[in-house]
C-alpha cells in the first residue's frame, strides 16, 4: 500500500473515477465498478488508494486545483480594469467546465460524502478559489460597475455560474467566452457597456 504518492497511474485512475462518480453518484459507484473501469481487479485498487473515500478526495482535489490554476493565470494576463477582470474570471470558470467537468460536478454534488478530515483540507482549496472571486467582485463594486450587497452579490454570481454544470453543453453553439460576456452584461447596467451584444443566436 503506497497510497500517498502522486504517480501518473494514480492520476489516470482518478480521472476515470471522476467519470464514474458523475454517471452513477459516489454511493452507487462500487469499488468493483471502479476497478473494472480501470482494467484491474477490485483488490488491486487498494494498492493505489487507502479506501474509497480517498478516491473521492483525489477527484475533488484535482479539479479544484486546476480551477485555481486556470483562474490565476487568467487574472494574470488580462487587463487591470474591473470589467476585464470580472470577465476573465467568468470565462476561466466556464472553461474549466470544458476541461474538468467531471471533477467539478463531483465537487459540487458529492462534497458532503467527504469525511471531516478531507473536507477540512479541501475547503481551504475551495476558499482560495472563492477568495479570487470575492476580490474581483469587490473591485467591480468599488468601481461602481455593479451594485448591491457584497455578500449577496458574490453568492448570486457563484450560484449562476456553478449552476451552469446542470445545463451547459460544451458541444452547443455558445462558447465560454460568450456566456461570460452575457453574464457580465446582465450584471452591469447597460450604459456602462457600449458594445452590448444583447441578442445572440
Amino acid at each position: 500500500m503506497n497510497v500517498v504518492n502522486e504517480s501518473p497511474r494514480r492520476k489516470e485512475l482518478t480521472r476515470l473515477a471522476a467519470q464514474l462518480f458523475v454517471q452513477e453518484g459516489f454511493d452507487r459507484t462500487t469499488v468493483r465498478m471502479l476497478a473494472h473501469e480501470m482494467g484491474i481487479k477490485s483488490g488491486s485498487l487498494f494498492h493505489h488508494f487507502r479506501d474509497k473515500q480517498e478516491i473521492l478526495a483525489a477527484v475533488i482535489e484535482e479539479g479544484t486545483q486546476n480551477a485555481l490554476t486556470i483562474a490565476r493565470r487568467a487574472l494574470g494576463r488580462c487587463d487591470t480594469t474591473p470589467e476585464a477582470r470580472l470577465h476573465a474570471m467568468a470565462r476561466a470558470h466556464l472553461e474549466t467546465l470544458l476541461t474538468d467537468r467531471n471533477a467539478h460536478v463531483v465537487a459540487l454534488y458529492e462534497w458532503r460524502r467527504l469525511d471531516p478530515e478531507a473536507r477540512d483540507h479541501l475547503s481551504h482549496l475551495r476558499d482560495a478559489y472563492e477568495a479570487l472571486w470575492e476580490e474581483v467582485i469587490d473591485e467591480a463594486l468599488d468601481a461602481g460597475l455593479i451594485h448591491g450587497d457584497r455578500f449577496l452579490v458574490s453568492r448570486f454570481v457563484m450560484g449562476a455560474l456553478n449552476w451552469t454544470v446542470r445545463w451547459y453543453d460544451p458541444e452547443g453553439p455558445r462558447t465560454p467566452e460568450e456566456l461570460a460576456r452575457e453574464l457580465i452584461a446582465m450584471l452591469t447596467s447597460p450604459v456602462t457597456l457600449p458594445s452590448s451584444a444583447s441578442t445572440m443566436v
Copy 2:
C-alpha cells in the same frame, strides 16, 4: 399494501423521510433508518410505500407541488407590473426554502436517483414551475427591465436562486423579502429603480 393513497400518515412519513434524505443522502439512508425515525419497524414501512424509490418520489412531488402553489398564489395577488411580478416570484421561491427546505434540497440533489417513470412524471411538475419563471422573465425582458438573451438570463437567475439552498440561513438577519429585492436590484439597471436600497445591513 395500500401504497397509492394520500393518507395523512403517509404525508408525515414523507416529511420525516425528506429530513433524513437531506442529512444522509438518499443512497446512504437505509429503510431501517427511515423506519426508526418514523417509530416503526422496517417491514412496516412497505405498507405505506411500494419501495424506497417511491418514498423519494413522494418527497420530491410534495415539495414541487407546494412551490408551484405558492408561486401561483404570489403571482395572483401582486401588481401586474413586470417588476412586481419578478419580485413576487423571487420572494415566493425563497419563502418555500423556509417552509419546505428539505424537500427542495432533495429535489435538487437526488433527482438523478429517481427511476425513469418517476422522473418523467415529476419533470412535468418541475417544468410547470419553471414555465412560470420564464413567463415572468419574458415580461421583464419585453418591458426593458432586464436585458440579455432569454435562455441565458433565465438559466442564470434560476441558478442564483437555486444556489441559495447552499448558503441561505432562515435564522439569519436577511428575510426572503430582502433577498428578493437585492436580486432584482442586481439584475435591473439602477436608473429604473428609484428607491434603490443598495447598502443594507
